[in-house]
């Protein structure tokens, strides 16, 4: 609903859940994955994700926190692309300017903030906005580490959840989606 209101994106009202093992994944050139600090990709799944991304698919990962989650995620990505590094996204990258100009990227905590009062989880104190690029410099994987943009969308109508995080989460996501649909 937020994306519809903020942009001319024509999106469904409900998400479509697809598995990496399902051929239907190729019908969705943009996929969003959460808690990838717990994923376990076998060789065939890694090869499938690589093929998906090389064909032009885009993966946005979110809601995984701390060094342990990162290690597991990074191992999975290394299986997908053994020879491609994960790099920090520079402020000037087109993904930060597709719809909104966003350069002061701050951490976006999940709903747990309301219960714990902590903006970070585990040892994920600093937000990391990273990506994996293809040979032509186009981002294939956008990584939101130590933030939870998904919670910020989901709890947009929660009075206690700060509006600035919801607002920023929507804007960043819109940038990511429009980037994925233009690069």
């Amino acid at each position: 609903m937020g994306l519809k209101r903020l942009s001319r994106l024509h999106v469904r009202s409900m998400e479509e859940v697809v598995s990496l093992d399902d051929d239907r994944i190729f019908d969705y050139p943009w996929v969003y994955a959460v808690e990838v600090g717990h994923w376990e990709l076998d060789d065939s799944q890694a090869a499938r994700l690589r093929e998906y991304l090389l064909r032009g698919g885009f993966l946005m990962v979110d809601d995984f926190h701390g060094s342990q989650d990162w290690q597991i995620f990074a191992e999975g990505i290394a299986k997908v692309f053994p020879d491609r590094p994960i790099v920090d996204i520079p402020d000037a990258d087109a993904i930060n300017h597709a719809v909104f100009d966003i350069e002061d990227r701050f951490q976006i905590p999940g709903i747990q903030f309301l219960y714990t009062g902590r903006e970070s989880e585990y040892d994920g104190y600093d937000p990391h906005w990273r990506g994996v690029y293809d040979d032509k410099g186009r981002m294939m994987v956008a990584i939101c580490h130590n933030s939870d943009l998904g919670d910020a969308w989901e709890h947009a109508d929660e009075p206690q959840y700060p509006e600035k995080w919801t607002s920023r989460a929507y804007r960043m996501t819109l940038n990511y989606i429009v980037y994925a649909m233009t690069h």
């Binding site: 001319r8 024509h10 190729f26 019908d27 050139p29 064909r55 032009g56 429009v178 649909m181 690069h183």
Partner: protein, 766 residues
């Protein structure tokens, strides 16, 4: 048969029927009717014969009449009526009025082809010797009895000769059209009653240009042709024609169409090779005669490569036992432009089609794709722009900005997003600027975007229905049409069979849109929808100076996402479609040559069209051509404005040296440069005569037909002199020829009476 009709056929063809008695024709018709009626009365009217049975006598008159109407009586009545009618017809003195040349007061021009191909030996005699023999024995003596005869030799031009010995096949080329036009001019004060051309029809151009034919026809002189040489090929293979776009942009994929003809090698395999600047770029195995393809052309795709003037060469490898190898190769020039055309793609909402089209074009070096995407209600995301200000204020509103692009793609954007003046501008972009417009399907595209009621509807290759809801997100497979199988746009792989298979294997489109029928002249390359209810998916046409196309889908991205990442089907499709869109889109300064390959002649004219940024003709430009000759020397000449053609400038010249000439045209307005264009042409000597070793009968027949003359074969030579008498050109008089004395009529009369007599004998009484 001629003895039956007394006069040659041409008299009947050219003559006008008249009755020489001077009596009215209606009287003849009336008399024939009366005589027939009298015969009918005599034969069919019932007699009051008391010997007839009482039963018969008591019948009514009508019934008795019906009894007399037997088949035998009818046959006799017809025979008698025909006989009497024919006699009456002859009494009226039928005749023909025909226009004939006055004896000894007219000139007949006899032209003998003096080109090298006339030295071809056939059955122990050269073609030239055959022509001379026919002239000396069958034609000239009789012609000279009737007319003043002047002999000419025809090669690169026409030249009067004293006798036939001066014609020896020494001319390197044969330009029949130019020669006849020159003859028409040179003899404008003379009473030329007709022209007789003895030739094998081997013209270096392969045809007579319409403007030359018009000049010959304007004199109303009939050109009779006597075709010399065999009409079928014997143990020879020839590249009859090579066609390819004369100019293109760098790295574009081009198609060469090659027509091969052969004699004596039917069914044999042969290798057709294409070279660009001496380097093999494509080849194809063909089967001679049996594999001539559609309309007789073989089609081969090849890459144009980097910018520059290039020689494209099509050749057939020599076949064992083929004596003439001089016609196994043909060449033409291809000017590969360094300038990249720019295409603007406007998309009304983020969608996958834009991403994947961009990806296809990112790896294409032939053109630049600029995209503007409406991401929010008020924001446009621009990609591929040359400088920050480009499209900063949205879609162009003035011609200078829009006309800087060569192609325009409109995606799913409602028609009312454009202002009425922008819609008008888009129309002018195609119609006047010569740009290419491609409209895509989408939930706000085509009919659903309200374009049926816009000014753009009429320039599209398909009609648009007024109803919305034509857009469907049900995946559907594209189907290649017969046209699509031939087109380079839909040629995803070179081999036609593999290409057809590939189209069958492509995944269904993510969406598609129903459109109306194609317009007359439009080509439908792809269709979509259920069998029996298919609708055009890709249709295209020329409109005004430009071209327009509809690809009624926004879902071809599945051809990339659902196939291996290295698969190029999607990318090739879009590259070829967008290249087609901008091919031929003129630039501000665009130049055309009368011919690119000059065979044994040097005349060429260069015409340049100069337009300003609004695409209005520039009438005050200074246009110069810098010509680099084959020997490296360069000259600079000015092009003159063409009267009555604003913005057009022309230069004609004759170029003697064989080789390639590179011309750079620069148009200036004061000190400001309007634009420039570079192209090339080539002169080749001594090549043309290796081609067309068989008689070009079609050319000679066509020439005769269009000028009111006749085509003759050597067997008809004895008829020529007499038949040339009947002409409407020169000094003529009306002659009348009696028809009543024709043997055929007397034979017919005898036949009619004889038949009646024989039948009466056989049948006895009726």
């Amino acid at each position: 048969m001629e003895w039956l009709f007394q006069y040659p056929r041409i008299v009947y063809e050219r003559g006008t029927f008249v009755f020489l008695s001077g009596w009215p024709a209606w009287l003849l018709a009336l008399l024939i009717l009366v005589v027939s009626a009298v015969f009918a009365w005599r034969i069919f009217w019932p007699e009051d014969d008391p010997n007839l049975p009482r039963k018969v006598r008591e019948l009514s008159l009508a019934k008795r009449l019906r009894l007399n109407l037997t088949p035998r009586a009818l046959v006799l009545w017809v025979l008698q009526s025909l006989f009497a009618g024919l006699v009456l017809f002859l009494v009226w003195r039928p005749g023909l009025e025909v226009s004939a040349l006055r004896s000894q007061q007219n000139m007949i021009a006899v032209l003998v082809d003096d080109s090298g191909s006339m030295l071809e030996n056939e059955q122990g005699e050269t073609r030239l010797a055959t022509a001379k023999r026919l002239l000396a024995e069958d034609i000239l003596p009789e012609l000279k009895d009737r007319f003043a005869v002047k002999l000419y030799s025809v090669g690169g031009g026409v030249q009067g000769v004293a006798d036939l010995n001066a014609v020896n096949g020494a001319s390197e080329s044969s330009h029949l059209g130019e020669s006849l036009a020159q003859l028409a001019r040179d003899t404008s004060n003379l009473p030329v009653g007709g022209v007789l051309l003895l030739s094998d029809g081997a013209d270096n151009r392969g045809a007579i240009p319409p403007e030359l034919l018009a000049a010959i026809r304007a004199r109303r002189i009939p050109v009779h042709t006597l075709g010399i040489g065999r009409t079928g090929m014997e143990r020879d293979v020839e590249i009859e024609e090579l066609r390819a776009a004369p100019r293109t942009f760098s790295n574009a994929k081009l198609s060469a169409q090659v027509r091969v003809r052969q004699g004596g090698f039917s069914g044999q395999p042969a290798r057709l090779t294409l070279k660009l600047d001496g380097k093999v770029v494509a080849n194809k195995e063909i089967v001679l005669a049996a594999d001539r393809g559609r309309r007789g052309f073989q089609e081969i795709a090849f890459p144009a490569g980097e910018a520059g003037a290039k020689i494209l060469e099509a050749s057939i490898d020599p076949i064992e036992g083929e004596p003439n190898l001089g016609n196994n190769v043909r060449r033409q020039l291809v000017n590969v432009d360094p300038e990249k055309p720019r295409v603007l793609y406007v998309e009304g909402e983020p969608r996958w089609e834009l991403k994947f089209v961009r990806r296809a074009m990112e790896e294409d070096e032939t053109l630049e794709l600029v995209t503007m995407l409406r991401t929010t209600q008020n924001k446009i995301y621009r990609q591929g722009i040359a400088e920050p200000k480009e499209l900063e204020t949205g879609f162009p509103t003035i011609p200078e900005d829009l006309f800087a692009y060569s192609g325009l793609v409109i995606g799913t954007v409602e028609s009312n997003w454009f202002t009425p003046s922008q819609i008008k501008l888009i129309r002018q972009f195609v119609d006047e600027r010569g740009g290419g417009l491609l409209m895509l399907g989408g939930r706000n595209g085509l009919s659903d975007g309200g374009y049926a009621n816009s000014e753009l509807a009429s320039i599209l290759p398909v009609s648009l229905g007024e109803s919305a809801n034509t857009f469907s997100r049900t995946p559907s497979k594209p189907a290649l049409t017969a046209r699509g199988e031939e087109s380079l746009i839909t040629r995803l792989v070179d081999d036609p069979v593999e290409n057809r298979k590939l189209w069958q294997q492509l995944p269904p489109l993510a969406d598609w849109q129903r459109v109306g029928d194609p317009r007359p002249g439009a080509q439908v390359l792809l269709e979509v929808g259920a069998e029996g209810r298919r609708t055009p998916l890709l249709a295209l046409q020329r409109f005004g100076y430009g071209r327009s196309a509809v690809f009624a889908s926004g879902g071809s991205w599945r051809w990339k996402m659902l196939r291996d990442h290295a698969d190029m089907a999607h990318h090739n499709y879009w590259r070829q479609l967008l290249r087609w869109l901008v091919t031929d889109a003129p630039r501000q300064v665009s130049t055309e040559l009368s011919e690119q390959i000059l065979l044994d002649r040097g005349d060429v004219s260069i015409t340049t069209r100069v337009r300003d940024k609004k695409w209005k003709p520039v009438t005050d430009a200074t246009v110069t051509a810098r010509m680099v000759n084959p020997d490296g020397a360069s000259t600079e000449q000015r092009l003159d404005p063409v009267p009555g053609q604003p913005g057009e400038y022309k230069l004609s010249g004759n170029f003697a040296l064989p080789g390639t000439y590179v011309t750079e045209i620069v148009a200036r307005r004061g000190t400001e440069e309007v634009g420039r264009d570079t192209l090339s042409f080539r002169r080749e000597n001594g090549v043309a005569e290796g081609f067309g070793r068989v008689q070009n009968k079609g050319l000679l027949e066509g020439l005769s037909q269009r000028t009111g003359g006749n085509y003759y074969s050597p067997a008809d030579a004895s008829r020529i002199a007499e038949e040339m008498t009947f002409s409407q050109s020169g000094l003529t008089m009306k002659e009348t020829r009696d028809l009543w004395s024709l043997p055929v009529f007397f034979l017919l009369l005898a036949l009619l009476k004889g038949s009646e007599w024989a039948l009466r004998r056989k049948w006895g009484s009726l």
